[in-house]
Every structure is written in structure tokens, then in C-alpha cells.
Subunit: 100 residues, 5 copies
């Protein structure tokens, strides 16, 4: 899993059953302090996340297939939660309530 | 999944049943704004994509095996859609119709 | 597996059974001498590790599913041990007892 | 899959049945124009490739196990074809016949 | 698979059956000419390798599980051979006998 920020959405007429009707979010990995830390990828939204949200992205094994309840879904990158807060050492480096 | 641009094609007499007759596309990952963002890889075309197209590439788990309907196909990187448009925040950063 | 340092924690209302009640640790990969060596990721704690600890992180195959005893857990990155010491050549480059 | 150039061979008395008698090729990923584009890895030769050849390397899922017809072979990086030519846009950026 | 040099060992009281009693080697990926080429990882020793040895590391699919004969071992990075020699083009760029 990794921390990321939702930076956009992609619209494409993909003809794969497992992707139909799903929102494709552009997610950019971020370090605990919020700086960009990796290449933007595309994830399926499972947490009603929107642009600007700090999110928890799962990309492990056949994670998405299991969460989506579809054994044959060729997907593993999912936004599974909007982050409440992040602590680094004793400091609160991200707090969703302050941001809102 | 990731965004990419189709930058070329490769021709090689590969003798693997799952690859016979398939178009091998060179795809270069791009950031939402279109800048190159990663190393070029080779993907199987499943979206009638051509050189210059902005595309959605899937490379997850045993994705290609499932999409191609061939459980033993040793392939996971597929072009699954030509992108219509990409939004980053409130801005439309890519629009296929403008480009065409 | 890789060496890492625990640098923080993440709190997010993730609604996935396999993650409920689990501590989400921010782990930063480190070189043998302790310098940062890679992007921070999120791991499940299986070793009562805390911020500042040097730890052994496993991220291989469906590792976490096996260790957690849950075949369907979409998790593979786990902190499996707090490191006692690291030897590089003949030198002791990290010693947990000195640090404590 | 990715494009690579064969840059050498490795000899090691590995005692794993699936590797016995196999040629271990050092392959360096290259961009379409031939520049180095990634770290050298070791691949099993399945295409009678030699040093200097531009090749197609497969490293997807359990690819090698399937191609080698050995379900338990712990191998996934294989040279599966010597490249005939590469087109980038309208230009022929690599042509095996010219090189020979 | 990749070439690496053994640079150290890690000691940690990991409580996972598959890791008990195993030597955890710090291995640093190297280019054919011996220069460092990637981040240090931790591998299980299967070749009686020691610090300073040039080794062949396998990290493919569920490789380790298969080699260790333990289907549930959450391990995939193994040192499977000490390298005898490496040829790059016509040159012998590494020779274990000279080094010894």
C-alpha cells in the first residue's frame, strides 16, 4: 500500500467488463509530508474519493480482484480509503479535518 | 494501469502461440500533462491503437491472460483503451477530439 | 525482503475486513548504513514495531496472506521483525542495543 | 515485455533443475533508439540469441514457467525473439538486416 | 534473476517458520563490471555464499517457495549460485578464480 493524492480522472471507452462504469482516478504517490514521490498511476475508486483527497492505495497481489469480488478482474490498484491523518514521529504531518 | 503514448511497433519472429499474429506496440508511460514518465515497454494491442495515440495500459496481475481468454498466455501488458480525455483538477489536460 | 525504518503511522477508515484493527506503519527503506534508500510505503505491523525502529519488511508474492492466515487478504507488505544488528563486511553497522 | 540488447553471459554452478543446461544471458533494456534504459538483468535464452543481438524479453507473470513447460520452474525472464526491426512513428529506428 | 554482491548479513528474531534458521544476506545488485546497480535487498542463502561473493540472485514469481520446497513460504529472493565468471562481449569482466 502507499499514500497518494488524487490528481485527476481519465475517461476512456474501455471494453472490459470489470472496468465498466468504474471511475478511473489518477493517483500520484506522496511522501508522508505530502511531496510527490513517484509516478502517477490509474486506480479504481472504492472510497468515494475526489480530486485533492489524500488516499490510501492498495496495489498488492491480486488485491483488487478480491476486494471487487470478481476473481477474473484484471485490476490490482484501488483507492481503499480517504486518509484521516498521518503521524511522522510525534508530529501530525497531515490532518484531513484541517484541510477540509 | 497507467497512461501511455504509443510511440512505435516492434517486429520479431516470436514463436509463442499467445503472441502469434499480435501487434506489439511500443508504449511510453506519460504523466497527466503528457510528459514522458517512465521507460518504454512493449504491449499487446487490444484497442486498435496507433502511433501517437494516448492510451490506457493495463499491466496488473495476470490481466492479459484473463482479457485474452487464454489462461496460459504469458502476457500482462495490454493497451485496453484509447483515451478520450484526462482531467487534472478542474482543467482538461488532454482531449482526444482536439488532437484529431 | 528489505531493511526499513518505521517513520510514522497512517489512520484511515478503510473498510476491508483484512485491514480492520491493524496498525498501518509508514516504512522507509534504508541501506545497510541507515541512509534512506527508496520510497516510503505502508506496511502492516506483525512485530510490535514502533516509530524509529529498524525493521525487516517482507513484500514477496502473497506473503502477507500466508502470514496473516487469510487467503483472501489483499496485503503483502508486512513488518516481520525488529532488527537486532546488521553486519556489513566485518563491521557492525547497526546495533539495536546501542540505539536503545 | 521490453526491448533489450544481449551484453554478455554468466556462468554459475546453479543447482536448480529448471536452470541446468540453460544459457544465462545478460540483457540490458534499451529504448527504441537503442540507448540503454534500465538495469541489466539475467534471462534464459529461448531464441538462439547472441551477444550484440537486439531482443524481445518477456518477464510477465509466470511467463517462463509456461513457455518452458515446467510449472515449477522459478523463472520468468526469457529472451523470446531476436528483433527484426523497430519502427518509431514513421522512422525505422532499428533494422536487424542492416546491422548484420 | 540478477547479479549481486553479498555485502552483509542481518540478524532479526523473525517468527515465521519459513525463515527460522535461515541466513539473511544483504545483496547489492551489480552491473556486469561490478559497479553497484540498484538497492540492497535481503535474500535467503541457498549457495553457501559469503560476504564479498559475486552471486546469482533469483527473485521471480514464487521462486523461493518452489526451491525451498515449501508452498507457503512467503519468500522469493534467494541466492542460488556463486558466480564463476561473467563475459561481456569478448571480455572476461569477472573471474571468481582470480578474485580468490
Amino acid at each position: 500500500m502507499f499514500l497518494a493524492e488524487v490528481v485527476g480522472t481519465v475517461v476512456s471507452p474501455v471494453q472490459i467488463a470489470a472496468l465498466e462504469g468504474r471511475t478511473l482516478l489518477l493517483v500520484r504517490p506522496v511522501a508522508p509530508d505530502g511531496r510527490a514521490a513517484g509516478k502517477t498511476r490509474i486506480a479504481i475508486d472504492r472510497a468515494q474519493a475526489g480530486v485533492g483527497d489524500r488516499v490510501l492505495v492498495i496495489d498488492e497481489g491480486n488485491s483488487a480482484r478480491q476486494i471487487l469480488g470478481d476473481k477474473t478482474a484484471p485490476i490490482k490498484t484501488l483507492v481503499v480509503g480517504v486518509v484521516d491523518y498521518v503521524e511522522a514521529g510525534d508530529a501530525l504531518v497531515y490532518d484531513h479535518r484541517v484541510r477540509s
